[in-house]
Symmetry: C2
Subunit: 114 residues, 2 copies
């Protein structure tokens, strides 16, 4: 596997490229939370514990820029905006589920019960 440059950044492997899309503390929880449904901002905020507005807004924008989700604004009163995974976002779901399962395995091995 050769290195490659995408949008002025060098990547050393496909894994690194994937992590640029779904890595960090919050992106995977947001993607999992959306799943195959459309959710409003307030619904996301309520379901993703501990996330601040500033963080959620930033993460949603980054995910949108990466083509992982689409944002739809409806001309209603009051205005409604919702978020839904794109095809490439949906394709991340099984990967994240497997990471979730692996995390649970590690927790078991460490004797962590929640």
């Amino acid at each position: 596997m050769k290195d490659f440059i995408h949008q002025n950044k060098i990547y050393y492997s496909p894994v690194e490229f994937a992590m640029a899309h779904i890595g960090g503390v919050w992106k995977m929880p947001i993607i999992l939370c959306l799943g195959t449904q459309a959710l409003r901002y307030g619904e996301l905020k309520e379901r993703i514990k501990h996330i601040s507005d500033k963080m959620l807004i930033t993460q949603l924008r980054e995910l949108e820029e990466r083509g992982m989700l689409s944002r739809t604004a409806y001309r209603e009163k009051p205005p409604r905006v919702d978020y839904q995974l794109t095809e490439r976002g949906v394709q991340a779901l099984p990967v994240i589920h497997q990471l979730h399962k692996y995390g649970q395995t590690l927790m078991q091995l460490e004797g962590i019960n929640t």
Copy 2:
């Protein structure tokens, strides 16, 4: 899923816990490189392009501390040290392979050829 504390750090999800073991730029390439074989330091250094000695040493120590790999020193002249994935390290392989595959899918969608 409730939060939990492990070694003085709070985790919000199993995914976050998994990423504490395999996240960052270098851990996954190192785990993939080891696979199911034992490799010496020099062999790892040669196979993982771009990694500096300082980075490789740090990452190997962190992976060892997390129980992802074991380090074996042989009483030979010159001294020989090798690294091998533990069971929990081996269990990470299918997860990382799936991330690799997802990264390739994203690269295709972006029209990246390497």
